[in-house]
């Protein structure tokens, strides 16, 4: 039988403890992101191309989410399976958005509109 008393170096056990300065740095990034979001929202970026404001807002939100997930939620130090599950979830979310919109955005095309 394997010796369970000793800590198994190749096992699941390695708990990574994220240092506090790193947490504070991520916090700083999130605050800067919030300020940038509000700042970018009041500036008219839509004259560059329609929807630019929304694109910038979502880009900042996605970056903020990535930092929260990687550091606050420890995904960076977790098994790859967890990362894969998250990517898979967003893939399904994208499928839901895409399949819904390919219907709604094309309803005014053809003889079906009113």
């Amino acid at each position: 039988m394997a010796d369970h008393d000793k800590h198994d170096e190749h096992g699941h056990g390695e708990h990574h403890i994220v240092p506090i300065p790193l947490y504070l740095m991520v916090f700083g990034i999130l605050m800067v992101g919030t300020i940038l979001t509000v700042g970018a929202a009041v500036v008219d970026l839509d004259h560059i191309f329609p929807g630019a404001n929304t694109l910038v807002a979502l880009l900042i939100a996605t970056i903020k989410m990535t930092f929260v997930m990687l550091y606050f939620m420890h995904v960076k130090y977790s098994p790859k399976l967890i990362g894969l599950s998250i990517v898979g979830t967003f893939l399904f979310l994208a499928i839901m958005f895409a399949f819904t919109m390919q219907d709604y955005l094309t309803r005014s095309i053809g003889n079906f509109s009113n």
Partner: protein, 293 residues
């Protein structure tokens, strides 16, 4: 050499280890994969509402912008900051649990709870303001004007729209008192109303405040459904925190066993992430058009 049975009996067992797991690491990993599966379905759950948002915003962007501009940007930004700070204190609670520091852990959980409660308090202030303005869908139905009088206010409202007299406007349905169609007018003048929007806002070929109001009402439905569901998650989170606080106070969580703190942390951060997306999508989407309230 002892028999297998006696070897097992003398085998060290960490206090928090359930017997089906090989070691604490495996137990921890199983818990976090389970939690992430739960969060995956939560993402899809909120995803349904985000899809509704996407569909209606794509169809009626100006109505969404008008509704959004009426939300309070200061309360919204403040709440975002509150939630991000609460995420930090939650992360620190996990950090101190990992180090087995009881008091620091308890303090961080208390701070997280205070910040969570602050968020809900601000939400309550915002909801109350919207309720008093009569723009919470459905809630005004009990103020429906009697059948005989229902027509009169609508007629006068239409006539006085351009006039100087401030006449109290009443939605004939008794709910959702929204009169402002200025943003649609502005978009019409600038020529960016799409044909779908025109079909939504126009009656007999001209911009109609009542039809525009009904599209703004869709925005407010989505606003209250999404922020309401988010607030419900916050309330559940506060319940979790209260339980964690009690257990942490008793000194349950040590460097060997802190899974409940970490899993509650994952939940709390998830709720924060939902808000990170709700905030720009609900509060900020039409600010660059100007003319907010």
């Amino acid at each position: 050499m002892a028999t297998n049975v006696s070897a097992h009996e003398h085998h060290y067992h960490p206090p928090g280890l359930q017997h089906q797991f090989e070691d604490m690491g495996q137990q921890q990993e199983s818990a976090s994969i389970g939690m992430w599966m739960f969060l995956a379905q939560e993402i899809m759950f909120f995803g349904g509402l985000f899809t509704a948002y996407l569909v209606f915003r794509a169809k009626f962007p100006m109505a969404f912008a008008a509704g959004s501009n009426h939300l309070d940007i200061y309360w919204g930004t403040g709440n975002t900051v509150v939630l991000i700070v609460s995420s930090l204190t939650m992360a620190l609670a996990v950090h101190y649990a990992q180090l087995g520091k009881r008091m620091a852990q308890v303090l961080c959980i208390i701070l997280t709870m205070i910040l969570g409660a602050t968020f809900l308090g601000v939400k309550a202030v915002e909801y109350t303001a919207k309720y008093n303005e009569g723009i919470v869908p459905v809630t005004g139905l009990n103020r429906r004007t009697p059948a005989g009088e229902a027509q009169a206010p609508v007629e006068t409202a239409g006539e006085h729209k351009t006039g100087a007299t401030e006449h109290a406007y009443h939605n004939p349905k008794g709910e959702f008192q929204w009169t402002d169609a200025s943003l649609a007018k502005k978009a019409e003048d600038a020529g960016y109303l799409t044909s779908a929007e025109k079909a939504g806002y126009y009656a007999n070929g001209v911009l109609d405040a009542n039809k525009f109001r009904d599209k703004v009402r869709i925005f407010y439905w989505i606003y209250f459904a999404m922020t309401g569901l988010h607030a419900l998650h916050m309330i559940v989170g506060l319940g979790l925190m209260a339980w964690l606080l009690w257990k942490a106070w008793l000194g349950t969580y040590t460097a060997d066993y802190y899974s409940p703190v970490e899993m509650s942390g994952l939940y709390w951060h998830f709720v924060d992430i939902v808000w990170i997306f709700l905030f720009p999508l609900l509060y900020l989407l039409g600010r660059h058009f100007g003319g907010g309230h």
